[in-house]
Symmetry: C2
Subunit: 211 residues, 2 copies
DNA sequence: ACATTTGTGTGAACAGTGTTTACAAGGTGA
DNA sequence: TCACCTTGTAAACACTGTTCACACAAATGT
């Protein structure tokens, strides 16, 4: 009776072991520089064993990405509760995004950089990625409603802000910001960049000053 | 006497043939999915022959990237002459950058996407990439001088604008803009995004209206 | 003219890759 | 006890990037 469930658990345990081994290796050496044989030997199994749990190497990466997105969404949603002002949340979200890329570069790279060669909008990606996209979109809609960004088309605003964040994080994650602005206070610099990106439109009147 | 020069020319011709074959293949199938054997067979040589002209596969990619950057810089410098106003040039540069990514996705991908796995700041990249970075930086400095972007630190401004552009192009190049905003007029959307990204700071007075 | 050096192309091999397959062992359910 | 199903494996397949000893031709030195 319960053997089925125990076997299910064992199976999940094995998947975990594979994923953990794979993540550690991928992160340290990059997806392409890690072979199935290495992953297998790290958990002391034969290479073919991995194929009982994952269809192929890419599927291991996909599973790790999925986990990364889950962690990311969770992290962002925690901040969501704390700030009532949507712009404040956007600011915090940007910091969180950058912080995530800096604090967990392993997950970040797995999620966004690894295997850029293939643009994969084939389902697997869509599932977890679309969720965070919609989260972001909703937030931007709220921000647009404050008038801070003028009458701009929401679609344009979404891509402008998303692209901005995405690009900045990319520059940071690839070390170009650090390399090209040596000696500067990185945290302060990032705050200035974020603040500039969120600057209100010229004719924005902030009428909700405390009262 | 002239035999040396002729041999040099022949050598260059051979390099060209290899590069052309490699580019066509890389672009269509991605760096990792193209083998040295395929490149070789496409120009009807043995695989080992390629190693007389390039140290390894990565060096072929590097050479192609170099060419891509040359084309890019040249294209941007042409626009540079046409517009006296730096902000206008920035706008045009952004359009040019996006246009380049859309019109020559092969070069674009070769330059920015391919082989993201390895962050390569090892000389080869620095040479051609730094040039276009400095071009961009100079332009931003000019823009900052107009006051349009307020008193913001130039460094922050550079990364804010660069990241913005970089991220946007990435979203476009990976098809996410097209996919997520189906049916919208892409050109108009992009213009709105660019315009939003270049919006002046709230207290900017445009005192140079014609006169 | 001859000998020698130099450059170019090659087949075969090496060490590695992702993945498949035929097969063995062992627990599960009837 | 018997069939079944899952898990693990060694061996193989068809690749990969790269190297090397070797052949051949053209350029050079004498």
């Amino acid at each position: 009776m319960s053997t089925a469930k125990r076997r299910e658990r064992d199976r999940e345990k094995m998947r975990r072991r594979i994923l953990d081994a794979a993540r550690q290796l991928f992160v340290r050496e990059g997806f392409d520089n890690v072979s199935m044989r290495r992953i297998a030997s790290r958990i002391e199994y034969s290479p073919a064993a991995l194929y009982r749990y994952f269809r192929n190497k890419r599927e291991i990466l996909s599973a790790l990405r999925e986990e990364g997105f889950a962690r990311f969404v969770e992290r962002q949603q925690r901040s969501r509760k704390r700030f009532p002002d949507p712009v404040e949340r956007l600011r915090d979200g940007a910091r969180g995004y950058i912080g995530f890329a800096l604090a967990e570069p392993d997950h970040y790279h797995l999620m966004f950089s690894t295997s850029c060669g293939q643009v994969d909008l084939d389902g697997e990606w869509a599932a977890s990625s679309l969720r965070s996209f919609h989260m972001f979109r909703d937030l931007v809609v709220e921000c647009a409603a404050t008038g801070r960004f003028g009458e701009v088309d929401v679609n344009a605003l979404v891509f402008a802000l998303w692209g901005q964040l995405h690009g900045l994080v990319h520059l940071i994650a690839t070390g170009q910001v650090a390399a090209l602005s040596k000696g500067a206070d990185l945290d302060a610099l990032l705050d200035r960049i974020i603040e500039f990106g969120l600057r209100p439109v010229p004719d924005f009147q902030q009428f909700q000053s405390q009262s």
